[in-house]
């Protein structure tokens, strides 16, 4: 009887213990995937061949992240430059010397809901995790 009582008292903590690490891991992993995606897109976008991050690249990126388990419609991309000009126009690439800035964000969703079991207030679902980076463009127009 006593053991059952102990089990009932501890059951929510037990559930939390079983699932919280998994959700924490998912948070870290998603964050890392966003960071890797930013790194990759900047590497390609700021290279001498492109000098821009256009809608087509963002579409391809959404597809890549979808295959990793993200919901593509919730991903938000922000592309900018250090000088304030537009970096999304393939007809007018950002010239060498100007940095291309990219950030991708994604909501936490229900990943912290399991914290309710131990009485913690979960992080609201609409708060967004994000990754960003700035890289100098290498694009030089053909003579």
């Amino acid at each position: 009887m006593k053991q059952i009582l102990v089990f009932v008292l501890f059951s929510s903590i037990l559930c939390w213990m079983m699932f919280a690490p998994v959700y924490r891991h998912v948070v870290i992993l998603r964050q890392a995937l966003l960071q890797k995606e930013v790194d990759y897109m900047l590497e390609v976008g700021a290279s001498g061949r492109y000098g821009y991050i256009d809608a087509e690249m963002i579409r391809a990126s959404r597809e890549r992240l979808e295959s990793k388990g993200f919901n593509p419609s919730l991903l938000e991309y922000a592309v900018g430059t250090t000088s304030g000009e537009d970096a999304t126009n393939p007809a007018k690439p950002v010239l060498r010397g100007t940095g291309i800035r990219l950030s991708i964000s994604y909501p936490y969703g229900k990943l912290f809901a399991v914290d309710r079991l131990i009485g913690l207030d979960p992080v609201p679902g609409d708060v967004r995790m994000g990754a960003s980076g700035v890289k100098m463009s290498e694009y030089v127009p053909d003579m």
């Binding site: 053991q3 690490p21 891991h25 960071q35 250090t82 700035v134």
Partner: protein
């Protein structure tokens, strides 16, 4: 009673493991972030062509501007303030220390073998370039792991075309 005690001990042990795993995993990803920030900073620094020397046909790096841009890109990528202390939203908690910043300019003979025994830097450059290393500390959430600090190194060459 002993089962209850066992349960509590198990809880503590499990929480400890969780904390360790969380901190170690975050530390690993932070290292990647730092490395990319250093890479982008040296890359930006190495693109600072000296216009006066370029007019004479020498591709060299403007050292003052290179350092300025290096710090600028480091700040932008790691969200640091003027004194390289973290701003809100930065992945770090302690200020970053730039331990090495060297410009290998056009007056050297290439390939140039750059060595810095103190920080373990060993780079071969085939053109004018920038070598840098920063020192950063991982902001621990829990005290279960010993402090983790890295010297993150990076090197970049002046790419042809400008």
């Amino acid at each position: 009673m002993d089962k209850f005690l066992m349960m509590v001990l198990l809880l503590v042990f499990h929480m400890r493991l969780m904390a360790l795993q969380l901190d170690e995993e975050r530390a690993m990803h932070l290292l990647f972030e730092l490395k990319h920030a250093v890479n982008r900073a040296v890359h930006a620094a190495a693109q600072q062509t000296d216009a006066a020397l370029l007019a004479q046909g020498v591709r060299a790096i403007d050292e003052a501007r290179a350092e300025e841009w290096f710090l600028d890109y480091l700040r932008a990528n790691l969200r640091l303030d003027e004194h390289l202390a973290p701003l809100p939203g930065s992945p770090l908690r302690e200020p970053v220390d730039v331990v090495v910043f060297d410009v290998i300019n056009a007056d050297e003979t290439f390939p140039y073998h750059y060595r810095n025994a103190e920080h373990g830097l060993d780079v071969v450059l085939y053109g004018p370039g920038v070598v840098a290393a920063i020192r950063a500390e991982y902001p621990r959430i829990y005290r279960f792991i010993s402090p983790i600090g890295w010297t993150v190194k990076g090197a970049a060459e002046l790419v042809p075309g400008g």
